[in-house]
């Protein structure tokens, strides 16, 4: 395998890191660690860096977790406030909280870290073919299940077969990687013959119907935790995993207690905690639970609680994410079927100012194209400028010289900040003669109309790649296309970007993708919000993850 080929078929960040190494921003040893983490076999990584390959470095360098902390104290229990939910079937999980309870027991093929970089976990590395239609995963050797079995391709095959069983109803079939392994049979989507190829005990190949870029990222999607080949739901009754912890007790709506597995040597190096205890608190009450000293850390607190958090004795841990709020128009409904109206609204709003008002600490300004600066393929378009006069002119041209009255539906599905965004927009739109009515409804009501309302504020969660979310939400006719946007030119531009693994080339393709979407003004998307959590000063290494995934391998408590 030549150096050139590796960089092309492996993680986009490898190329970036290699550039950094060549320009001196990254030293060679750092590059080796980084590249290894991204799925480049350690040997190849050393070769790329032009260094001799030391036999011992291989193991340590290839772990996806942060480095060991020499000051770490072994033992102790970490008490975390989070909603405690049921642990029925990891493949059909619908909430992150469920997967967090399981995440310490079950592990994934890959691991998307707090830095939004995806690294191999139960896989040792992976390779993609040139056309991105064939992905080969090399499983890590020496991984043991809690019952003593070896982790092999048999387990991986078992899991993929389960996920693609149409009767199971796993949301994994919606992932672009898995859906490219399916075919239609008798009105049902089933696994295509030959889509999965077991090569040996530790090598497995996936043959896809179309190029897929995000295979490694998909494998850390929260319902893709790998269960033992003997798995039968509910998981909580027979919690066999490969992770460092096992389940002691799970009482829904009350507590979930996990303790270290005994008798099995964990593959992932040192783990400090003895116990993890989740206690049930609603999102609103987690910070107050922390304030009263009941827990050491929490799942999340909202931006409206920031002042309270600052006043408490703890470390606030923000995570940069691509979670956002799309105040999107349905381009088939009046008056938003007129592009000039949409452009006028977008022009009258100052995204940076809205962000400043709602999320003064952290976060990124959105640019109405739903690609976040932390996405690897993000292309920086010229900054958006507010243009009230231009907005007025466009409105007049569209036939509304005396102003326009519109209503936005807000469900606060992700916290009261949705409403704050809408209110800030209302104040800014006033200057352009647009009256915005903010119609607040309960979250469950909003979910009933989210893809039907002419103008609504929908929350979209973080996805590691920009192309993943664009493909889900804006391609012509896809189920989650809430804007009813249909532009063949844009679809083609996205296709081009999606079939390019090289991050530099992909970024170049993204310019067109982002530009068209921005010009067509399908949404006001002012904020990529940060997520906040808090941990006591005695807790070290508590991760702030863009999708609030809990991986506590290197967390310790003083």
């Amino acid at each position: 395998m030549s150096n050139k080929d590796t960089s092309k078929t492996l993680h986009p960040k490898v190329a970036e890191a290699r550039r950094d190494m060549e320009t001196g921003k990254l030293n060679r040893r750092e590059f080796v660690r980084f590249a290894a983490l991204l799925g480049v076999g350690a040997g190849a990584a050393y070769a790329m860096a032009g260094l001799p390959n030391p036999a011992v470095a291989q193991d340590a360098a290839n772990l996806p977790f942060p480095a060991d902390d020499p000051d770490a104290k072994m033992g102790g229990a970490l008490n975390v406030a989070m909603q405690v939910q049921k642990m029925e079937d990891p493949a059909t999980y619908s909430w992150i909280e469920m997967s967090n309870q399981t995440r310490h027991i079950l592990e994934h093929l890959s691991f998307t870290g707090p830095d939004n970089v995806t690294r191999p976990m139960l896989a040792e590395r992976w390779e993609a073919s040139e056309d991105l239609k064939s992905w080969t995963f090399y499983l890590r050797k020496g991984v043991k299940w809690h019952n003593g079995d070896d982790f092999t391709t048999e387990d991986v095959l078992f899991n993929f077969t389960r996920w693609t069983d149409p009767d199971l109803g796993s949301s994994n079939v919606g992932l672009s990687s898995i859906s490219a392994m399916l075919e239609e049979k008798d009105g049902k989507k089933v696994l295509r013959e030959g889509a999965i190829e077991v090569i040996d005990d530790h090598t497995i190949r996936f043959n896809l119907a179309k190029p897929v870029l995000s295979f490694p990222e998909d494998m850390y999607n929260y319902p893709t935790a790998l269960v033992h080949r003997s798995f039968k739901p509910p998981f909580s009754d027979n919690p066999i995993g490969t992770g460092p912890f096992t389940l002691v007790e799970n009482v829904v709506g009350d507590r979930c207690l996990l303790k270290r597995v005994e008798g099995i040597e964990y593959w992932g190096g040192k783990v400090y905690l003895d116990e993890i205890r989740y206690y049930n608190f609603d999102e609103d009450n987690q910070l107050t639970a922390f304030a009263s000293g009941d827990v050491d850390a929490i799942y999340e607190f909202g931006v409206e609680q920031m002042e309270l958090a600052k006043a408490l004795d703890g470390d606030i841990i923000p995570a940069r994410t691509a979670q956002t709020l799309c105040c999107r128009f349905q381009v088939t409904q009046k008056p938003f079927d007129d592009k000039r109206v949409r452009q006028a609204i977008v022009k009258a709003i100052d995204n940076a100012r809205v962000k400043e008002l709602v999320y003064p600490d952290g976060g990124d300004v959105g640019e109405n194209h739903h690609v976040a600066p932390i996405h690897p393929e993000y292309y920086a378009l010229p900054k958006l400028e507010r243009d009230v006069e231009g907005a007025k002119a466009l409105l007049a041209e569209a036939g509304y010289p005396d102003g326009l009255e519109i209503t936005i539906d807000v469900g606060n599905t992700d916290g009261p900040w949705h409403q704050t965004v809408a209110e800030a927009m209302r104040d800014q739109l006033k200057d352009a003669g647009i009256t915005l009515n903010v119609n607040v409804m309960p979250p469950s009501k909003y979910w009933e109309i989210w893809d039907k309302t002419p103008f609504g504020a929908t929350a979209w969660t973080h996805r590691p790649l920009g192309t993943m979310v664009l493909s889900l939400g804006y391609r012509s006719g896809v189920p989650w296309n809430e804007t009813k946007y249909a532009n063949p030119e844009w679809d083609a531009a996205l296709d081009a970007a999606e079939s390019t693994l090289d991050v530099e080339k992909r970024t170049a393709f993204m310019e067109k993708v982002e530009k068209i979407l921005q010009d067509d003004a399908v949404m006001v998307q002012p904020i990529f919000r940060p997520v906040y959590t808090i941990a006591a000063k005695s807790v070290h290494g508590y991760p702030g993850h863009p999708t609030q995934c809990h991986q506590f391998n290197k967390v310790w408590k003083a």
């Binding site: 008490n79 619908s94 109803g169 949301s171 829904v252 206690y279 608190f281 469950s444 909003y446 989210w450």
Partner: protein, 316 residues
């Protein structure tokens, strides 16, 4: 007497049957089912579901059957002692409800243990000398405390005793097992709200007794005032408050909702609210049945007690 009790009990079961049928009908709307689906599967997922898979989900949950069929099934299992299953808590409703009722029971025990002596003593003191300074002060205090809603009392107590002075924990989640300290604020809140009402009724009853002929005669006969009050007045004056106190049990089932939610105490009230919002139908059903049963039974007890305590009725 027995006939009356029987009549009441029959009425209770009739009411329970009507109430639960109504609840089943209410929670049968497509709206509620959709909400349940959103809770279970997540909002995005539900709206991406095809009509077929949604129907499949409904039938898997047994929600596709008409509500009267589900109702008869439910009645059948209730009669066998099975209260159903909680979707939200993933548990049998029976043990879940028992757990929460026990917690509310602990709360109620301390509330009554504090409220009964306090309100009776204050009520008697006030009613002994109607119109005195003592009477007016106690009356004003009781109007004042009853006027402050529980939510406001809870806030005032938390702000002063917990956030300000730091003497007591602000929340009562009790995640590490029972801690008496965490029980103090909820108990105080309920006592402060409720004692004034009982005290005023005791006062009225006491005042009436004190102006009655036989007490006046006793005083005129020269029996020491203290003895008149203790021996003769009290017994008769406490009949009305007794019935009232039993009825407070019914009130408490309403009153605990806001207190338990504010202090995050895992009791009956919080369970009911969470279940209604979820919507966890079988838990709401079970909670309602318990509430109705408590209401009716406490009514019966208070009636019986009144009959037994009141000589005028017993010997009539």
């Amino acid at each position: 007497m027995l006939k009356l009790i029987l009549r009441r009990l029959v009425q209770m079961f009739l009411i329970m049957a009507v109430a639960s049928l109504l609840l089943f009908a209410i929670f049968d709307t497509p709206d509620f089912k959709k909400r349940l689906a959103v809770q279970e599967l997540g909002g995005f997922a539900v709206s991406a579901l095809s009509e077929d898979s949604y129907q499949a989900w409904l039938s898997e949950r047994g929600l596709d059957a008409p509500f009267y069929i589900r109702y008869t099934n439910w009645i059948g299992s209730i009669l066998q002692g099975d209260l159903g299953f909680s979707y939200e808590k993933n548990r049998e409703v029976g043990p879940l409800l028992l757990d929460r009722l026990a917690n509310t029971g602990i709360l109620a025990f301390f509330v009554f243990a504090l409220m009964i002596p306090l309100s009776l003593v204050l009520g008697v003191l006030a009613g002994m000398k109607e119109g005195s300074v003592q009477d007016r002060t106690i009356s004003f205090i009781s109007v004042f405390t009853t006027s402050i809603p529980e939510i406001a009392t809870a806030i005032l107590l938390t702000v002063v005793l917990s956030l300000g002075l730091g003497w007591l924990p602000a929340k009562s989640a009790m995640i590490r097992g029972f801690e008496f300290q965490q029980l103090i604020l909820p108990v105080l809140t309920l006592v402060i709200y409720d004692f004034g009402y009982v005290a005023r009724m005791t006062r009225a009853s006491m005042a009436e007794v004190m102006t009655s002929q036989y007490i006046r005669t006793a005083i005129l006969k020269g029996i020491p005032y203290r003895r008149v009050v203790m021996r003769h007045a009290l017994r008769n004056a406490l009949i009305a408050p007794f019935t009232l106190i039993v009825l407070q049990l019914n009130w408490l089932l309403s009153g605990v909702v806001v207190v338990e939610v504010f202090f995050e105490y895992d009791g009956f009230g919080k369970l009911l609210l969470e279940a209604a919002l979820f919507p966890d139908v079988e838990v709401v059903q079970a909670c309602t049945l318990v509430a109705v049963a408590v209401a009716v039974v406490s009514q019966i007890i208070s009636d019986i007690g009144y009959t037994f305590l009141n000589p005028r009725i017993r010997f009539a």
